[in-house]
Every structure is written in C-alpha cells, then in structure tokens.
C-alpha cells in the first residue's frame, strides 16, 4: 500500500488566505506558488490563517517568511492571524538571527590581479627560501637522518626500478622501430644503434625517468607533507624544537637527488637494450656491430650530461613537492589539490629545464 500523498489546502476568503492540512517539504513548493498567487497588491493587505494546519516543518516556515519578505518589499501588509497548536509549536521552535550582512562585493579586477601577483611573489619567495635552506642543510651531512634517508632511497629508488626499467626498455624499442622504418628506405639500418643510443642517453632517458619520478615520488612528497601540515604534525615538530626542513625535507631531497641519476643510468642502459633487441632480432644486425656502433656514437660527455640533467631534474622535483606540501592549508581536499598542483608544476619544470639543457648542450658539446 502506497503512502497517502501529502495534502494542503489554500482558500482565499476576502483578504484572508486560509491554509490547512500538511505544510511540509513535499508541499512547500505548492505553498509558495499559492502564496505568490494570492500575494497582496502594492499597498494592499493579506492575512494568512493557519488554524487548519495539521503539520508544519521548516520548509513551510521558510516559504511563509519568504512570502512575508516579498510583500514587505512591495509595501504590502502581510501577517499571520490564527495559528493551530501544531503550527504554533513549529513556529516557536525557530528563532531568527540578526539581519544578514550584505554579501561582500566582488573583488575589482585590478585588485584581483594585484592580489594574484602578491600571492605569486610570496610563493616564489617561499620557494627560494626553501631552496636556500635545504641547500645549506645538505651541505652539512651530519644534519641528515640516515634512517629516514635510506627509507626514502628504498621507496624512491629500488621500488621504482621495475616501472622505470620497463618503460625505458619499451621506449628504446619504440624509438628503434620508428627510426628503423625510416632508415631502412635508405639502407642505413645500422644507424638505428646511433640514433637510439643518442636519443635515449641525451634526452629520453633522463626526461622519462624524471617524469615517472615526478608522478610517483614528487606527488608522494607533496601529499605526505601536506597531510602532515593539515594534521598539525609539522606544528608539533616546530613546538618540539625540531626543524621541519631538517627533519622532513632533507631526507627526501637527498634521496631524490641520489636516486634520480641512478635510475636514469639504468633507464639509459635498458633503453639502449630495447633498441638492441630491435637491431638484432628485426634488422638482423649482429650483436657486436650494434654494440660497437652504440659505443662509437656516444661520447663520455653524453653520459655526463645525462647524469647532470637528471640530478637537476631530481633536485627540482623534490623541491617542488616539498614546496607545495609545506604550502598546504585547510583540510583533506587541500591535500589532493596540492598533490595535483605539484605534479603539474614538476612536469612543467621538467619540460622547460629539458629544453634549456638541450640548447645548452647543443651549443657546448
């Protein structure tokens, strides 16, 4: 058996609107329509009779108050006379607060631009301060908490080996296939080794490794620090006289600076190995020829530049993660926003820095 549908009645008797039945959330919209339909003309009057009301909730009270406010705005008289016991109990339950202050006006455009610029300047200042603090702290190895540093190295380094290795090998394989397809047309299959080796070691190895580390470890740093920030753990460290930079930032930054070059070295090797597989299995090059062409193409400077780039990449990813983490304020939602912002900023940084290094090394090497 279905529940009876909620019913209310509204009948106009001269200047008196008699409401009855159940005035509740389900009938509040119809009640508003009835009140609007019978609203007094400007300067007129309406008396609302609630003697027949069997039930009343806050939605109905809201509709009545709204109708009264509209009538007052039109200069009409609108009031309740005659209230059933049920309605009286409901209406007595709710008290009105003081008049609401007007909502603040929207910020003028120039002011908003100024506030944005000031916030950006403050954030940049905080970032540079963090960079300076951590760099000075890194210069003193006694400040490093060894246990936390090793823990971070394991998480950021050894646990990242499988994913970084797999992606690097597949990337080398893809590069080799794509270049083989073009070079074969000119009978230059052998140069697949040169192309894959140089592309992996100079560009793709460091960049792909750094992007993976940014997504995996940079985001983790930002999320972890932001969570500690919003749960007052960082405040607790400060009150205990512990420096959050030394306690939290240093082990993470030192670990990422160490592991990113090592991961890059492995990515370079596995990327070349991916190309080697294509060369030997698909292009029928001998193993010795492929290896000798790769060694011939790569100068020691290529490997050094790869390591240097990855070191700078790792430093930047770590700093960006820490910066966004320490900037977090508010609740759990802020942790998510902070993490996303840190990954986006890290990838942006990697692309810009990668571009800068490409131009620099092209000119220098």
């Amino acid at each position: 058996m279905s529940a009876p549908s909620p019913v209310f009645t509204a009948a106009l008797d001269g200047g008196r609107l008699c409401l009855g039945g159940r005035l509740e959330r389900a009938t509040a919209r119809a009640l508003s329509h009835a009140l609007e339909r019978h609203a007094p003309s400007p300067g007129g009057a309406l008396i609302v009779d609630l003697k027949g009301v069997d039930y009343m909730d806050s939605a109905a009270i809201g509709a009545l108050l709204d109708a009264q406010r509209r009538a007052a705005a039109r200069g009409s008289v609108w009031r309740v006379e005659g209230v059933s016991d049920t309605a009286r109990r409901a209406l007595s339950l709710f008290r009105l607060g003081p008049e609401q202050a007007a909502p603040p006006p929207p910020t003028p455009l120039m002011e908003a631009v100024g506030e944005g610029a000031y916030a950006a300047r403050t954030a940049l200042g905080d970032f540079l301060q963090l960079a300076a603090d951590t760099t000075f702290a890194l210069a003193d190895p006694r400040k490093l908490r060894l246990g936390a540093f090793i823990e971070q190295c394991v998480y950021m380094g050894s646990q990242a080996l499988p994913i970084v290795g797999l992606i690097a090998a597949l990337l080398g394989l893809t590069l080799a296939f794509q270049s083989a397809y073009q070079l074969r047309q000119f009978g230059a299959d052998i140069y697949v080794a040169n192309l894959t080796g140089i592309a992996m070691v100079r560009e793709m190895g460091p960049l792909m490794t750094a992007i993976l580390v940014a997504g995996r470890s940079g985001s983790s740093i930002a999320a972890e620090i932001a969570t500690m920030q919003v749960s007052e753990e960082i405040d607790a460290l400060k009150v205990m006289g512990l420096d959050p930079i030394q306690f939290l930032a240093l082990p993470r930054l030192a670990a990422i600076i160490l592991v990113v070059p090592l991961l890059t070295l492995m990515a370079d090797l596995l990327g070349v190995f991916g190309g080697y597989l294509v060369g030997v299995l698909y292009l029928d090059l001998t193993s010795g020829v492929y290896i000798s062409k790769t060694i011939e193409a790569l100068a020691p400077g290529d490997l050094l530049s790869s390591m240097f780039k990855s070191l700078i990449f790792g430093w930047g990813i770590g700093l960006i993660g820490l910066h966004f983490g320490f900037q977090a304020r508010g609740g759990a939602g802020e942790v998510g926003r902070t993490t996303t912002a840190s990954v986006v900023a890290s990838i942006f940084y990697l692309v810009i820095a990668g571009c800068f290094f490409s131009v620099l090394f092209y000119v220098v090497l």
């Binding site: 008289v77 009286r88 008290r95 007052e232 753990e233 009150v239």
Partner: protein, 258 residues
C-alpha cells in the same frame, strides 16, 4: 606572559589587547565560544604565529624574539598537546615519545627507551609502545600525545581541547592526569577547552574570551558567577542568541515583518 597581544589574519583582527599571566603550578583555562580566538591565542603562546602587536614571554623569555639554539632551548621547556594529538603517523607511539629526547638530549638509546616506557606508563599507554597512531583510538592518541608533550618534563604545558571528542570516562581520566602532573611536578598548564565538566575539575583560573577580547579573567568560581550575559549563558549551556531573545518565527510572522 602575554602582554597586549593583537593578532590579525589579513585585515581581520582576531585578538585585540589580550593579556594573560600563568603562575607556576596553576591550571589556567582559556574559555569562549567558537571563533573567539582561543586557538589563535594558543598558537601565539607556543610560537607558531608571531604577534601583530604586543609580546609573548615564556618562562621570562621573549619567545618570538629568540632564534636558533636559544629558541630551541626555550621550546624544550614547554610541552604542547594538540587537539588531535598530531602524532607523526609514520612513527610508532614509542618512537613519537622518544623523538624530543633523541633530538634534544645526549642520552643513550637504552636510557631513552626507559624514559619512553615511564612516560607511556604515566598515561597508561604501555601496551601501545609498538603500535602506530592509526592503530589506536582517538582517546589513546591524546594520551600518547600527552606522554610525548611530557617527554622532556616541561615547566609549562599547553593543551588544545584535550577533552574534545572523548567519552566522559576517558575525558575524566585525562583531567586527572593533568591534575596529577600539576600536583607532582608543579608545572603550569594552559588549557583551551569547552567542556564544562572538565573546566570544573581542573581550572584554577579562567580567562573568558569573546570576539578576541577578554570578558573576564579571574578564579573559576568568580568567572562562573560573572553576570555578563555571554558568560552566564555559556555556563548555563544556553545559546547566546536565545538569551538575547532573538525573535521567533511566530513573532515575526504574526507581527507582520522581519
């Protein structure tokens, strides 16, 4: 120890001319409705926020003017119990309590372990030494955080709503622990709390804040009998709006206007 403190967040003034003095061996309670500036006052007292105006002195030293080793040395003489404990989630309860001892003393690991066990026993948390904060209840986390705040035997202990979210029994136990600490070690304790039962049990003197200004600053009994409507409504557990007699919907609708 707090002199004419003014605190601002941007253009908003949160505290305006607050003075607070805490004597050794007393429990001082900071009271007031939500948003009156209690937590802001506490954050200034423990050095997390620098004052816009005025000054904060802890144990006779200007906390915000100190830097480096001098500031750290002063901070080791205070303890802070945060509202949610603020235990480090990656460390066990024992490691959390050991943290200040490892950072600020040259004690051997074996001695530190003994101290950690003493402190955990003091708050009846010995069984949780090897557990992570996520593995224990909210009340246990607060007790563990109290053990950490007490690790260096501070002269001054700050507590931010120690009873919030606890059942009456756990809340009572925590109050008794604070009283024991005060009585046995003679430390001064500053507590921010809303819990009337807790205030009645522990408070020696009370400062009542309203909209960033002190309404009353006296012994608990005198503040309890204060005739300011906001204070009397607070102790009578009646909403201030109701005490002020905000119009009911019935009055508004029958009188014909808001």
């Amino acid at each position: 120890m707090v002199h004419d403190l003014v605190a601002r967040y941007g253009a908003r003034t949160i505290l305006n001319g607050v003075n607070l003095r805490v004597e050794p061996g007393e429990i001082r309670v900071i009271l007031g409705g939500s948003g009156c500036g209690k937590s802001t006052l506490l954050k200034h007292c423990i050095g997390l926020i620098p004052p816009a105006e005025g000054r904060v002195e802890l144990l006779g030293q200007p906390l915000h003017a100190l830097e480096g080793a001098a500031r750290t040395a002063l901070l080791t003489r205070i303890g802070m119990l945060f509202q949610n404990g603020a235990l480090l989630g990656s460390l066990t309860i024992g490691e959390n309590v050991a943290l200040p001892l490892e950072a600020h003393t040259d004690l051997s690991p074996a001695v530190i372990l003994e101290i950690v066990r003493l402190k955990l026993a003091m708050v009846e948390m010995s069984h949780a030494e090897h557990l992570l904060p996520s593995e224990i209840s909210g009340g246990m986390r607060k007790r563990a955080a109290l053990a950490r705040a007490m690790a260096l035997d501070p002269d001054l202990l700050f507590c931010d709503e120690p009873s919030a979210g606890l059942d009456p029994l756990t809340s009572r136990e925590l109050d008794e622990t604070l009283l024991r600490l005060r009585d046995r070690f003679g430390m001064a304790v500053v507590v921010v709390t809303h819990e009337l039962a807790s205030i009645e049990t522990i408070a020696d003197r009370v400062i009542f804040l309203s909209a960033g200004r002190p309404l009353a600053d006296d012994t608990y009994q005198r503040v309890r009998q204060h005739d300011h409507p906001e204070i009397s409504s607070f102790f009578a557990r009646v909403a201030a709006g109701e005490m002020r007699g905000g119009p009911s919907a019935l009055e508004v609708l029958t009188k014909g206007g808001h």
